[in-house]
Symmetry: C2
Subunit: 712 residues, 2 copies
Amino acid sequence: MVFMRFCPRLIASSNFRSPKPRIRTLASPPLAAAAAAAARRCCRRVVSMAGQTSEDALRRALAERQAAVGAQAEAVRALKADGAGASKADVDAAVEALKALKVEAGAAARRLQAAVGSGGGGGAAREEMRQAVVNTLERKLFYIPSFKIYRGVAGLYDYGPPGCAVKANVLAFWRQHFVLEENMLEVDCPCVTPEIVLKASGHVEKFTDLMVKDEKTGTCYRADHLLKDYCKEKIEKDLTLSPEKATEFKYVLAVLDDLSAEELGAKLKEYGIVAPDTKNPLSDPYPFNLMFQTSIGPTGLNIGYMRPETAQGIFVNFKDLYYYNGQKLPFAAAQIGQAFRNEISPRQGLLRVREFTELQLSGESAKLVKLGEAVSKGTVNNETLGYFIGRVYLFLTRLGIDKDRLRFRQHLPNEMAHYAADCWDAEIECSYGWIECVGIADRSAYDLRAHSEKSGVPLVAHEKFSKPREVEKLVIVPSKKDLGLAFKGNQKMVVEALEAMSEKEAMDMKAALESKGETNFQVCTLGKDVVITKKMVSISMEKKLEHQRVFTPSVIEPSFGIGRIIYCLFEHSFYTRPSKSEEEQLNVFRFPPIVAPIKCTVFPLVKNQEFDDAAKVIAKALTTTGVSHIIDTTAISIGRRYARTDEIGVPFAVTVDSATSVTIRERDSKEQIRVDIDEIASVVRQLTEGQSTWADVSAKYPSHVGPQGDQE
Amino acid sequence: MVFMRFCPRLIASSNFRSPKPRIRTLASPPLAAAAAAAARRCCRRVVSMAGQTSEDALRRALAERQAAVGAQAEAVRALKADGAGASKADVDAAVEALKALKVEAGAAARRLQAAVGSGGGGGAAREEMRQAVVNTLERKLFYIPSFKIYRGVAGLYDYGPPGCAVKANVLAFWRQHFVLEENMLEVDCPCVTPEIVLKASGHVEKFTDLMVKDEKTGTCYRADHLLKDYCKEKIEKDLTLSPEKATEFKYVLAVLDDLSAEELGAKLKEYGIVAPDTKNPLSDPYPFNLMFQTSIGPTGLNIGYMRPETAQGIFVNFKDLYYYNGQKLPFAAAQIGQAFRNEISPRQGLLRVREFTELQLSGESAKLVKLGEAVSKGTVNNETLGYFIGRVYLFLTRLGIDKDRLRFRQHLPNEMAHYAADCWDAEIECSYGWIECVGIADRSAYDLRAHSEKSGVPLVAHEKFSKPREVEKLVIVPSKKDLGLAFKGNQKMVVEALEAMSEKEAMDMKAALESKGETNFQVCTLGKDVVITKKMVSISMEKKLEHQRVFTPSVIEPSFGIGRIIYCLFEHSFYTRPSKSEEEQLNVFRFPPIVAPIKCTVFPLVKNQEFDDAAKVIAKALTTTGVSHIIDTTAISIGRRYARTDEIGVPFAVTVDSATSVTIRERDSKEQIRVDIDEIASVVRQLTEGQSTWADVSAKYPSHVGPQGDQE
């Protein structure tokens, strides 16, 4: 359940989407050079779908081997049978052959198992790695299960002290990278949102997942999850599965998101899927709205919801923001804040799903309207998207996301909702697979139009012409009197249909009326054709002077799931190294300084007044220069203290071993340099703010290889 | 409805509070010297309550004058009557005297009006000032009414671009001032909170306001608001009010918060108060819970609420935080986040009330436990509170809150909830009166005990003794067999009552049993006395070695209403000055640089390539040094551009009038200095980061009095 995905899915009347990863290169180069290069780099990644064929071959090979084993076993039985008259040597040879075939079949089964097992055999290793990360994250209070003393709530996690610091750093960098560097207009809207807003946006009607209930206990499950689990289990664990059946299950997985309630229900029944905990029968699937509902004010009549996305707050403020920007397009608006989703059965561990901090940008671009006019079809659109893809790539990799486990996936044409011109997801690979962390959707003019219509406030932009333009305009004037006489109660529908005609339709009708006096006309809202006569409508093309163009701008909407990004960042930053005693693994987070919860630790090497005083002097200087730090004066060995600071990803450690000069240790290389006390703060600041690298300072200051052991 | 107030009010069994402001000096000096000085400064302010007597005198004087007018009118009528035989001169003199008395009475009425009118005559000026601030704030998009295109929701406001920047700056400074400088442990918990947590904290039962309904339309009002409005209106507008009646209304205002539903209902009936909009009769008052309710997960059975305060998230995490802190006390924890309150009828304009960002600190202090042991009664308590008062004072005044409109008010002993040892509010004066913006409450061990009890997880701290201590311990061993025989189904209640005896009760029982063999014993849960015999219980004092003390720590909880602080900051920072043409007032926000939404604007004096290029060079240097800025190249006069930048509180404006050196203008003094282009970024950075003052740079660089006019 990736939260940006719902954007194109929201209001889609038909919604085909395949979960198969697919990569395309950009159609045209993005706007800025750095972004262009970045976008090229990140789009090189192509996901191999070649595995499929080899898996088929393995299944067939296994089936053949098993058939051969069966046949040989039969042969052995026949040889051994009374009256077969086979010599002992023949029987022995046949048994040997059977054994050999069994060994072969076993190897084929193992090869298939390795190919289909989760992560192709790496599943266990991945699980183990995740457990090591999660243990460290929970032990060091990066995360705490929310309301733990009350046995918690699934899908809700608190950030503890280092987690909070990382989150604050990521948000600050996001604001710097996007809002400040791109002069975006930031807004901050309430979480409680009145129903009318979310009716207009389509969330009240469409923001649902299909749910089934255990018919006896009432426990709820996501219908697609149950079907997915069943199919995956079959594919990965059932080695006797025929290639045809395996293909069927894979097809089901591929179209999972497209299945209607009825289709899902039929599949559950066909496969005999029951409630996983109790084995009770399940209800038919029915939609469950994922918004947390509440009511505003005391009457109970005013329904509100906790916002499911932060984008709507930007759309409803379009008019004010447009004026604030001097009525100029394009501009971008941004919002940082909580969004809420009442998941049916959250189950991805530390990937927070019920509440998440969303970072929302909306770039309203005048140029995109040219698209709507079908002038330069698709080109500009891709350029703007491409620019954001580049900026997002830079943002994520600077945070520390591994560029080899980051990909941008363009939605296939048939995945796209009817209003979406294009949509790209930034996906990050972690132990849960590829996770959608950023969605970059071209929402076109859909939302602004929806809110204009519902609120009656035109959310439009104006383009003043330098000189008035003469335009030909289609003018359709229905004669309400004649239409009323002819159609009575249906008059309104006929009038609306007439006024909604395209230029071609209208000119065709004009010609027909002029030649024949009357014509058939289909009124969709009535579901039938009516006869229109000449006196019922006047159609003409008139020349008019226009001073400006009024239009609804299109919107590109990149949306960031900050909790998911942070979790992936933790996995990508984590590694272990053996301790000197090699008895234990030491955990390290290789956070870049901008992300690290604390930039620097200060350790007096041994406990004495002189070192403690020097540590205080250094701490004060660090405070003044604005470098976050902690002093660790516990009486444990320096090696253990280094291990402790590595485990929360502190990049630099200052060890006070004299009152005049001290050492700085870099976390990942474990190298140390010696620096005078009065220079420490500025050296550490330069390192943490990126003005100098470790290589720079290593070249400048003497390296230190002293008696202070790095590890126990 | 000031949000910190509910803390001591929440769970109070009896709750007397007077809204009269009252100041006390601190009982003992706070911990840190700077904080001590600050606390002394801010506590000097004593609110005068002397006005009351002079108002009484004015009411009496007016009544006397009106009586004199009546008497004289009667005399005139008598003189004029047929048969009175009064001379024309006598009548004329009497009429003149009547006129003079009327003039006197008029003057007395005006004096009374001035004394009782809202703000003592300053009401109109205050209203006008507020309107000017609010107009500027809304026009420059500091605030936008939420969901404005749908006619908004009372009590919900968005922050627009400059408002967001101010909020981000205030939060960053808060984190620096409290979390980083004091090494607090930050947490970040979900907004959606399961019911059990808020049952334990008392919010489900007690977090209510009394509401009345229009009996015909169903419109809801806060009962106390209606009574308050009625009394204020009477006092301020009804000049014929007797001093006795005026005193009664004032008394009602003073005890407003203490009135029960019944008392409030009786007062509404007594005064004949009806629905303000329709004049329909009102229902009796009944409690309305102010939490937004929702349900977690799809079953509808798991009730949740949007958290009403951020403190509970800290309390439920106590155990993990205590271990994280190396099991040492005291420590402090902090949380920044939204809190939610479903107000019945929000009505304080831009003071956001339904959702607000709360900043929560909880300092758990071991020392406070000594209080619980009644060792050093009250002293430590006040010291800790005093320290926080000092820190809060420094925080608020550095943000730009006017120290003369800031006060700290200690709750009176009879205002205090039963669990609160002490409580201070930081109140800021704005056009709405004195607003509680920060509450600093000693919540004692109340919340930790409540959650321990409800969750079954002991939220306690341990103090290891350096050597074991011998303690005498009361040991009560009920004989369940004998008790079971005697009390059957009531056995459990009797056992619990026996085990709950205090040392004195137990020793009295022991004595009685030893002398008489049996004794009467009251079992509250049974509501009666039972007879306990000697064999039913053994009571003894035993010596034991104790290695540690286990206790529930006390909590000091400062809580910040960030939206209120920001609104007050806007009012305190706002002023107007005449433009040169004197045709209009120019608006200025005198934000200190740390608060200002943008630190610096860059203006090419006139539009030409050379100046534009220089402006870009400067902008790039500002970006590199991390100074937020905008370039304004619009073709309007430099004076108008200054006015525009003043109106959003930008402290420094760089005007590019040559390609080598440019000017920096300081917003409030309007003074300008001339600085070389390559020095600009570092000079502005020093100014905005507080490393140099305007006086410093004025002394160093030549001042500029050029042809560039400051205003139109």
